[in-house]
Symmetry: C2
Subunit: 822 residues, 2 copies
């Protein structure tokens, strides 16, 4: 909020959108400030909602001409969107009246006759003239709460001439100018105040860089990017959740440009997709002054204490504070854990209760008599309908119907739902539960996955709102009955509770980069058993906030063959959003490994191939880059190659990569230096992205949902991975038949394949050919809405090494600074 | 923030504590508002820190006399704690100078000679006169940032007479008046704006009542109770974490009165300790206008979806929004879960790594060579010292020393640390982990507890700050080695990571009651295997915030024999706080059950004994009430009995209970009606508490820590429970010997006993006598700092019933309203 106070009398200018306020909010403000008078109340409203208030003071003895001149001057001032006048009767000369005619941007006249400025208003009459809609209600409410009687009528100059005791005149212009204000808020370049960056050399550790920069208050950043205060829920001073109501408010706003950052096939040397994503928005926002947002995945907390370290970018391209980003954040993953495990507990408890009770006992407990009345809850009514039982009186069910209703008859061997935990706990990879006496011999083998592997995480990433999320949660299949029917969360009666647990997690979290530009952090599903992309909702919110000329940069997990393919075929299909550019990240080192460079071992110095010039390895490795460019072109989206700089890169190597990239169809290929220089180091990349994004593109999906499951898998295997064909195991074929029979055949495909090769063989670098892709098994996430074929085995629970990185992590109890996160 | 704008010129009054601001904060404000001039900057500072700013405007043509009169008038105004003058040189007449002499409450004179008000100040000279300390630094900084040169000197009237080009004169009074302001903020009754309550009859459901009341913005409540904006971290608009720095700021503030709410021995009929706690603070704050805080435990989320429903109080005595209270809140329990399970994962991973690696391999991994350098991390150095190895160079260790260092040699059979989860998941009561091939045959049996049973929760409840919490976390014993040595979190190297995970959880969460009075929610340890009380830190913060005449009301779990005994002997001993009053909660119904009334069954109408007058049962049941009063008196603390009203209570029954209570030594006994009427229904109780709290009391512990473990247990069993003696199992005796040998014998005792009887036999109501208390086993929470004897078996993992309450819970996707929580 910016308050300016000059010296003198009587004209209040309000940059106001009070038309946006609800009665309840105004009431709350009034009630907690009982002494407020109407004028003050309106100013107060503006302050409370974070709007600029300007009070221009004129000398008390100024003339009518001075007043009307000032009004006319203000009408010319482009920063002024509304004026609130508070004048004594004596000022109503013709010149003032002319100045405040409704065709001018005068929002209100509020004048008193024979009433001292501070006299009580109780019992006085106010007339609202020419004001309609929410504003009318707002003003009526404010005035009536001050004990005034209120009349309304259409605008007419006679109201100014009439000697009414108290009159309030509001022009229709207030509505128009408020609209203009809101529109201009949306379309205009943000008034973003970037944080200054002074990169050091050598580049300090990530946490040192993060700690050295003081983030803006998150409420300030929110205001800078056009969020209204009521659309924000702060979580401390550096994180805030953003309400989905924004989508409604900005529904007529055109989307910005949509940029995906993907990578070549990953190597142990790292490519730096996250740093490119952040460096690119720092360059776009802080240096090219273009509205831009990064949308990132929330990292799993478990690996932060294992070997991985943080995931907030690195060097001078980071999200800050990095420790907040890497740890609990705003609790979304904790909410997923709670929801996921409530389903798990409900499954086993239900198996136990069904195993130990008669139909009658189950029925009397599931539909109990409360004060003599028995009735089905809504979720039980829904189950009855799925069972084809069209009855609503519990006493009407036949014994067979009771049996069908009370017995999910879950086959313990066919429970597919796993518990999750956000800790690297390898001993939970295979466990036996239910061994206590109280569970009466119902022990069974199962496992914990890391929390982000939960189907609920994939749902969070793909949903477009609360109603859709609730529906998806209800559709989740947790196993099947002994006669082969899929059993869902709806059948367990747990859907509503899951939605309640997830009601805050659905709101994306706003943070900032090292240069004070905005970032959404939201959802982080696995990139193999799920689709590995941040949330649809964050992207949608960001695309509205940046506006037509702005940029949203989002990142896909793993290499482009996996993350980008799923981004297009699953995420964009679900969201309806069309991507404009793919930024494909590569490094000279990683290309060398694809070209046949030697393996590397952690803790051992890098082989010389990676630290001195070797053009042959680079040239050979560019085959992988070329293939990934071609994959993007399959979808009709242009590619900009971002060559992430290392100090060992030689100019000849850089030139070679850029030449091959452009020869392979990339629209541009540039080196970028955000890691060592921040956004300034990626300005060239940003300019290339801006240019390519303005070109027309022809986005298309790779397959139709109506294709058969086998056809869809084959299309991905052949066109994307370069396989000759696919080979289905008998289990996989049986699953396909089962899913088709259950009506799940038209879902998109989410391949669970190693990310270390275009093929299923992790050791095959470059562009493998001549292989048949084996499909070991097929699973389905019905709530999230995809089928995932398993190519090889996927670990869904990382472990702790002998010396986990927690050995170095500590908290200074005095300064509260965190040490050892990286 | 309250902004008042009147009309005219030139005198700025600032209610200011800018002396509290750091250079960094001011710098941030300046940098984001580059156009600010010094005066504006100071006002801006005040606004940003949430202080009231008053601008009194005088007519431009006013005379010097009018100015000096206004200054003198302001000096008389008790609301004015500081004045900032902004005067043209022409106003420096004698009368004005007299008015602004330093013995008046004039905070600053800021005057310009020959300088138009808006002229740039760059290069001008400012003289700070008579100002010291942080204020001097602040003003110097502000002025220098405006390009002014700054001199400082002592106060003298010649500065006013000298024709310096620009002069800034600050009286020493600013410091004194700032101090006065701060002090008055602390000692004065809060300017609390209670929320109006209009109770309906019949009383609606808890969630309907909660939803019908709009909470105050939490930042407003914080301001009302004297918190500074920088001491608050909002989590949305209805919850905020409060910084522990408050304890430092208010260290010289006397504590308020400390009131404990305890109960008679619980029955299935419920007594309502939580509603009494909340009703009492509503009465104290909103009706008696006394500063008061409730300190509540955070409920476990798991049972919310089982059978229990919410724990935010009930009826018209609730914490709102109750769904926020009952669900994730600010993530503390999630943080505990993460920290607890990181320890568990570290234990099993360590067992595996030790089982599969040679000493040399372990050593080279635990102390790796990084860029050719090997060194111990600080936590490893600490372990070396515990092992008696005074070496710091990893290459100096002998093979024996290496072996001692790298091998914790944890005995898998003697791991006492359990995993936790905040879900009612009965199938995790006994499990086998480590069955995957990757764990190489190291499977072992273990269990999950509900998250609040974690020792880390008990630590959170007992700690007094970050350093203490970190030390306690490090001391936690997780099991023992094969040769019987206790192994701690420090030995695992995980302490720092735990502290990092818990860094936000240590800050109490501020919420509000239905009547808008403040509540801290913080920690919720089990009341059997732990001490069942909310946090020491929340109580300490609240005692400072309410000030000397205020009240802090906190609640102990279970009956007074358990929760209150632990409150005194464990919590008060740890915190050093002295309780002033015990409020002992009883109901006519529960007393009837203690008097021999029949058992009750959920879902079946209550037996007639409970719904019609039965004086004999009441009289007999009062034996339990009398015994609990006597227990409180053992500690020297006076008792007020709160008889929680039910509509079936008859006047004769009420009179009988009150008569017996007072005859048994209670200082007062009153009926209370907060459930149906809110705070107004508990005014009589509040008055009684106020009166009794003003009496002298003689608080003492029941035993000395230096007593032997057996003596301490016997003292509690005989004096509190009324047992004839105790009987130790051989296991218990062996544990005592072990703990004594390890030096843990001087810890307080935390009895893990059924809460349903004063004895160990849950079915024995009233006051059982003639029994020997059997001690089955003894365990220890070394980090939390107590030994807990097990009397019977304690379930640490609740289960889900056949029809969990999640069947009724749902979220309206449009209104976001939650249904079915109760």
């Amino acid at each position: 909020m910016c308050l300016m106070v000059k010296c003198a009398l009587c004209v209040h200018l309000i940059y106001s959108d009070i038309v946006q306020r609800s009665r309840e909010e105004l009431k709350a403000i009034r009630e907690t400030n009982p002494g407020l008078k109407p004028t003050l109340a309106i100013i107060q409203v503006c302050l409370c909602i974070g709007l600029n208030v300007m009070q221009i003071c004129l000398p008390r003895q100024c003339t009518e001409e001075e007043v009307s001149d000032e009004i006319l001057r203000l009408n010319e001032d482009s920063r002024v969107y509304g004026i609130f006048l508070h004048l004594p009767q004596s000022f109503l000369s013709k010149s003032v009246r002319n100045a405040i005619k409704p065709q001018k941007d005068v929002d209100g006249i509020y004048f008193f006759c024979n009433t001292p400025l501070d006299a009580p208003l109780i019992g006085k009459m106010a007339v609202l003239v020419g004001v309609e809609g929410p504003l009318k209600a707002t003003l009526q409410f404010l005035l009536q709460n001050n004990g005034m009687m209120v009349q309304t009528c259409q605008w007419s100059s006679k109201h100014l001439q009439k000697q009414m005791f108290v009159a309030v005149v509001i022009c229709q212009h207030v509505v128009r100018s408020s609209r203009r204000w809101i529109q201009e808020q949306q379309y205009q370049p943000w008034r973003l105040h970037p944080l200054k960056l002074q990169p050091l050399s050598p580049v300090p550790s990530d946490i040192e860089i993060s700690r050295a920069q003081t983030p803006k208050p998150i409420s300030q950043l929110a205001q800078e990017v056009g969020l209204l205060p009521e659309e924000l829920e702060a979580y401390g001073n550096t994180k805030a959740k953003v309400h989905l109501s924004l989508l409604n408010r900005l529904q007529h706003q055109p989307n910005g440009k949509y940029v995906l950052v993907a990578g070549i096939t990953p190597t142990p040397l790292g490519e730096g997709k996250s740093t490119v994503t952040i460096g690119l928005v720092q360059a776009l926002s802080a240096h090219l002054k273009l509205n831009s947002f990064a949308c990132l995945r929330q990292p799993s907390q478990g690996p932060t204490f294992g070997v991985k370290g943080g995931a907030a970018g690195g060097g001078y391209a980071q999200v800050i504070p990095m420790e907040e980003f890497n740890l609990h954040l705003t609790g979304d993953i904790h909410a997923i854990t709670a929801a996921n495990n409530l389903v798990a507990a409900a499954i086993d408890a239900r198996i136990l209760h069904e195993a130990t009770q008669s139909d009658k006992a189950l029925y009397s407990r599931l539909v109990p008599s409360v004060n003599g009345v028995r009735c089905f809850s809504p979720i039980q009514m829904a189950r009855l309908q799925r069972l084809g039982i069209n009855k609503s009186d519990p006493s009407d069910l036949t014994p067979e119907e009771v049996r069908a209703f009370v017995r999910l008859d879950l086959d313990p061997e066919k429970v597919t739902w796993q518990r999750v935990i956000d800790t690297n706990d390898r001993f939970l990879r295979k466990i036996t539960v239910g061994q206590a006496n109280t569970e009466k011999g119902n022990a069974r083998q199962t496992q914990f996955d890391i929390a982000v592997a939960s189907e609920i995480m994939a749902i969070l990433a793909l949903t477009d709102g609360l109603a859709d999320m609730r529906a998806r949660l209800g559709r989740m299949v947790v196993g099947s009955s002994r006669n082969g029917q899929p059993i869902t969360a709806d059948d367990l009666g747990v859907t509503g509770a899951l939605a309640v647990l997830m009601k805050d997690a659905i709101k994306p979290t706003l943070m900032q980069t090292l240069e004070g530009t905005p970032v959404f952090v939201h959802a982080g599903p696995f990139a193999n058993i799920a689709h590995g992309n941040s949330s649809v909702l964050a992207d949608k919110l960001a695309l509205k906030l940046v506006g037509e000329e702005g940029f949203v940069v989002t990142e896909a997990g793993f290499g482009a063959d996996i993350g980008m393919e799923k981004f297009f075929n699953i995420k964009c299909r679900t969201s309806g959003l069309k991507p404009d550019v793919v930024v494909l990240v590569a490094t000279v080192r990683a290309l060398k490994m694809h070209g046949g460079g030697p393996n590397v071992t952690a803790g051992v110095p890098l082989p010389k191939e990676y630290i001195s010039e070797n053009l042959q390895l680079v040239a050979d490795g560019c085959s992988n880059l070329k293939k990934q460019i071609q994959i993007a072109h399959l979808f009709g989206v242009p590619v900009v190659v971002a060559l992430n700089a290392f100090k060992t890169d030689t100019q000849a190597e850089i030139d070679l990569v850029c030449r091959i990239a452009e020869a392979s169809g990339a629209s541009a290929a540039v080196q970028c230096h955000h890691w060592s220089r921040g956004g300034r180091g990626s300005v060239e990349l940003a300019q290339a992205v801006k240019k390519v994004a303005s070109q027309k593109n022809y986005f298309q999906f790779l397959y139709n949902l109506q294709d058969s499951v086998v056809e869809k898998i084959r299309t991905i295997a052949q066109k994307v991975y370069g396989a000759d064909d696919i080979e289905l195991s008998p289990e996989a074929q049986a699953k396909i038949d089962y899913y088709n029979q259950q009506g799940f055949g038209a879902l998109p495909i989410c391949m669970a394949k190693t990310h270390l090769s275009l093929s299923h063989m992790p050791e095959k670098k470059g562009v493998p050919t001549g292989f048949i892709l084996p499909i070991r098994d097929i699973r389905a996430s019905i709530g999230a809405g995809f089928i995932y074929p398993l190519v090889g085995t996927m670990s869904t629970m990382p472990g702790l090494p002998t010396r986990p990185c927690f050995y170095d992590i500590d908290l200074d109890p005095v300064t509260e600074e965190i040490k050892g996160l990286f």
